[in-house]
């Protein structure tokens, strides 16, 4: 039986569907102190005085911490590999509070009631200052979000806290102005994407306790256990060796848990009190003080010749990092690198960006990580260019798309597109959508009109030359294997996908492999599950480890058979002599033999890091129906054809795609973090911040056109992030084709469409 490319059930499925207690709050010590945080009501203020005596007097309160009680070394909460790109701009508690919701004090007590009461009894006098909200005036504004002297950027990328700049750069290839001036057709437009919440169903949560040696155990819902160990160590100013991070099952992440949102608060409480503690973020807190997607304003200039060959692209991104800089210098990069690369004929391209600090909630990692924003802008601009030329947008993409062996301009992480089936993706999507008969629109005659739209996308597979995957495989006494992993299954099924690979490498049933993840004391180092890295990077570590273990098993068996290792083979069950198959020793016998009088470990730990980040590719096509009077939009049908290399588990790859597209539909049509003029978030709950329900999603149809990526395990690339990138541009285009209204600022609400139609009618 082969497992790779088979839709096997997830190994944890039955525990999940029967509601077993496998998540952080289910497993937290029952005597945990409840930890909560007092949050700033001001967008920019200094704590003048803070009185905690009355709070401490509340029965059951164990500790109240203020800025005076925390280490004074700045750090970042971003889960990134060294050298961390995000600036050190945080303290656990800071006198300077920089957004509505910023942490002012930490309270821990025996019960929630006591903690709530104590929070009310803390008296804070703030020195309130004017905040900076406008991204256009943030740069070089006299009001500084981070005026402090100890703000630190480890990797200089144009950041300067005295200018409210987190990062700033220009990359240019060729003479953009010259080529643009030669182009017969050009467009220039600015696209605005808004902050969106990841809204995984399980909010941020962490429980902490001390072990018998006084080490801090951090049980946390995180995508980045090894980074959390470092971050908590730095935040508490203790050696990371004093911290052990355990990841149970996670209720979703989507990048939100690539930042250490909740860990530091119970960590400092347990470290100071010695008591177990837990912090369970409310949905409200998850909405007001986490790290949603960066709001970006992206200006694109694109130029094509008379034949529709795109010769130049110029992209400028203004990104809003909010009050802190987590993931900001890196997300912005993807807005150019993953969008310009989609057009292979460009002779000149430029990508420039500024990332500004403002006094709103900090932004962070959300599936797509800047590519989603950049691809919305560039794909929309190219679609607009096609219309200007009177060309079908599918046609302009067919003329210019990445091809196998061809260049990916502006994308630095592979020399050329080594594996690429974008052409097949487009052909299949066209066929599935029946594009030629539906483009551009069909008036349904009942006040409704249907339009279709198209977009391409690419992402990476891991961060080239940075991400590390780890796998530790060993043979047990009974002939079973244990595969220890450091990557973090957050529901995506990577524990299963990696076990599928191991099972095929070792020619053993999946049931014979126990998957263990994650405990930083035990698991092999892994940078964590983000950047579309796990299948590609950790997958290769698994393949390497399993192949090495096979070799060791053969050697071990050969020894038992008293023959030369070169003359034996292994079929998963037996090591046997190639010449005489009757001469064999079973895996179980090998397992037992390895447990006594044995000097050779049947265990292999391998790491893998790729100098490349081969992009997966996809085409998305949307069919929408618009009510011409109310502007209501229904996404009737969404076709996605994906080249993720070999889909290791076609079911899980398909559901990744469907889930990513559903999130993208939310982003395209209604998700929008909105603020009052005082900087307070207006949609701070699921009542006000609407994510798609099953009634808001039409049909989503997914297919695969696989290339084979030589540098990936079994030919695989990534899929997790790519799949959120096409809905915004494809739906915007479909709405344009249906109505003639081009909405360049997300979300594309019924109001924007209806008012747009009205305006167009008036102009007529």
């Amino acid at each position: 039986m082969k497992y790779v490319n088979q839709p096997v059930q997830k190994t944890d499925a039955m525990a999940l569907v029967t509601g077993k207690p496998v998540y952080t709050d289910d497993l937290a010590p029952k005597d945990s102190l409840i930890v909560k945080v007092l949050r700033s009501p001001h967008a920019n203020a200094w704590v003048d005085t803070i009185k905690t005596e009355n709070a401490m007097k509340v029965p059951g309160i164990v500790c109240v911490l203020t800025y005076e009680d925390v280490p004074q070394k700045r750090f970042t909460l971003a889960g990134q590999t060294a050298p961390e790109m995000s600036p050190d701009d945080r303290l656990i508690l800071d006198r300077h509070v920089r957004f509505v919701g910023d942490a002012v004090a930490i309270v821990a007590g025996e019960t929630e009631v006591a903690v709530d009461l104590a929070l009310k009894r803390i008296r804070v006098k703030y020195q309130v200052e004017t905040p900076v909200f406008d991204i256009h005036t943030a740069k070089d504004n006299p009001i500084l979000v981070h005026p402090e002297e100890d703000w630190k950027l480890k990797i200089p990328l144009g950041g300067d806290n005295k200018r409210n700049l987190c990062a700033s750069a220009v990359e240019e290839h060729g003479d953009v102005e010259k080529v643009l001036s030669e182009c017969k057709y050009t467009v220039e437009h600015t696209y605005h994407t808004r902050a969106n919440q990841q809204t995984m169903m399980e909010t941020f949560r962490t429980a902490c306790y001390l072990d018998h040696t006084g080490r801090l155990i951090v049980l946390s819902s995180t995508q980045i256990p090894f980074h959390v160990r470092r971050i908590v160590g730095r935040a508490l100013d203790i050696p990371a060796s004093k911290v052990r991070v355990i990841k149970p099952r996670i209720g979703g992440g989507f990048g939100a848990k690539q930042t250490s949102i909740s860990e530091i608060y119970p960590a400092i409480v347990t470290w100071k009190t010695g008591r177990p503690s837990k912090m369970i973020y409310s949905r409200y807190e998850s909405m007001i003080c986490s790290t949603p997607r960066h709001e970006m304003e992206i200006t694109v200039r694109a130029g094509a010749d008379e034949n529709g060959i795109i010769r130049a692209l110029d992209v400028y991104t203004l990104s809003n990092t909010g009050a802190y800089g987590e993931h900001s210098s890196t997300t912005v990069g993807l807005s150019g690198h993953k969008s310009i690369g989609l057009y292979r004929h460009t002779e000149a391209h430029r990508f420039a960006f500024d990332v500004v600090y403002t006094n709103v909630q900090s932004a962070g990692a959300y599936r797509g990580y800047g590519a989603t924003q950049g691809i919305f802008a560039v794909e929309s601009a190219v679609n607009e260019l096609a219309h200007k030329m009177g060309m079908d947008p599918v046609k302009i993409k067919e003329l210019n798309m990445p091809i196998e062996g061809g260049p990916l301009p502006g994308y630095p992480d592979v020399p050329y597109a080594q594996s690429c089936a974008m052409d097949r993706c487009m052909a299949k999507a066209k066929e599935m959508m029946n594009w030629d008969s539906k483009y551009p629109f069909r008036d349904m005659g009942n006040g409704k009109v249907r339009g279709v739209g198209v977009a391409m996308a690419m992402q990476g597979s891991s961060i080239a030359g940075v991400d590390v995957g780890g796998a530790d495989i060993k043979l047990n006494e009974d002939g079973s294997y244990t595969l220890a992993l450091g990557c973090t299954d957050m529901g995506t099924g990577c524990d299963t996908v990696l076990a599928q690979m191991a099972a095929d490498c070792l020619e053993t049933p999946m049931e014979n492999i126990v998957v263990f993840s994650v405990d930083t004391d035990i698991s092999p180092y892994d940078s964590g599950s983000y950047a579309s890295a796990t299948t590609y990077t950790t997958g290769m570590a698994v393949v390497k480890a399993c192949n090495e273990l096979r070799r060791k098993i053969c050697e071990f068996g050969a020894d038992m058979l008293e023959t030369d290792p070169k003359s034996v083979d292994f079929d998963g069950n037996y090591v046997f002599c190639s010449e005489d198959e009757g001469k064999k020793v079973s895996l179980e016998e090998i397992g037992i033999k390895s447990t006594f009088f044995n000097n050779r470990e049947l265990q292999v730990v391998k790491q893998h890091s790729s100098p490349l980040s081969p992009p997966p590719f996809m085409v998305g096509m949307a069919e929408v129906e618009v009510d011409k009077e109310t502007g209501s939009v229904d996404v009737l049908d969404y076709v996605a054809v994906v080249d993720c290399g070999t889909p290791i588990n076609p079911n899980l790859a398909r559901v990744q795609t469907e889930g990513g597209i559903a999130q993208g539909i939310g982003m395209a049509l209604f998700e929008d973090v909105q603020y009052t003029d005082k900087g307070k978030i207006r949609n701070n709950s699921f009542m006000q911040y609407k994510i798609p329900t099953r009634q808001d999603i039409g049909n989503i149809r997914v297919d695969f056109e696989s290339s084979y990526e030589e540098s990936g395990p079994f030919g695989a690339k990534s899929i997790g992030e790519l799949v959120i990138d096409t809905p915004c541009p494809a739906i915007a285009e479909a709405i344009y084709n249906a109505t003639g209204v081009r909405v360049r600022e997300l979300p594309i609400t019924p109001e924007k469409i209806a008012m747009g139609i009205l305006k167009k009618n008036l102009e007529k």
């Binding site: 499925a13 998540y23 559901v655 889930g659 999130q663």
Partner: protein, 155 residues
């Protein structure tokens, strides 16, 4: 105050705080399948059955279950496994955090509606959010399960 009720078929009597919400009470009693995804009655993760009807345990005072029959997924393990197998065969369970509330409501739906079509399914389950799956595979699993139950009944 004192309440008497049935939890997963077993009659119980407990002393409770009058302000306690059912979700907190149930988790305290070891029903960890009951999850909280929001505080605003919008996510459906905390769905349990009260006298056969699916309700939001986050919006129900524990005091109000006096004399009533409460069923959580702990009390429906066989059904959960049976339907859950279909869900998992689509890869639709994903992170699993919304699964208990979702499956509770699927069970309630199948008891209430006869042969629901896709639109009815979507409407009945609209109050069950899921951020992982995009819902398509969930619907597919329900339709396949319905079909399986039908052929089972016919044979």
């Amino acid at each position: 105050m004192n309440i008497k009720f049935w939890l997963n078929g077993i009659q119980r009597q407990e002393e409770i705080d009058p302000g306690m919400l059912l979700i907190d009470f149930l988790r305290e009693k070891g029903c960890y399948s009951v999850k909280r995804g929001c505080e605003t009655a919008n996510c459906g993760l905390c769905t349990v059955l009260m006298d056969e009807k699916p309700i939001l345990s986050c919006s129900m005072l524990a005091a109000r279950i006096d004399g009533k029959k409460i069923v959580t997924l702990e009390g429906l393990q066989k059904e959960a496994e049976e339907f859950g197998d279909f869900l998992a065969n689509e890869g639709a369970e994903q992170c699993g955090f919304c699964n208990p509330g979702f499956i509770m409501n699927v069970i309630a739906m199948l008891r209430e509606l006869e042969e629901p079509d896709e639109e009815q399914i979507k409407e009945y389950l609209a109050g069950n959010l899921c951020r992982c799956s995009g819902f398509v595979s969930q619907t597919a699993s329900i339709l396949k399960y319905l079909n399986y139950k039908k052929t089972q009944e016919e044979s």
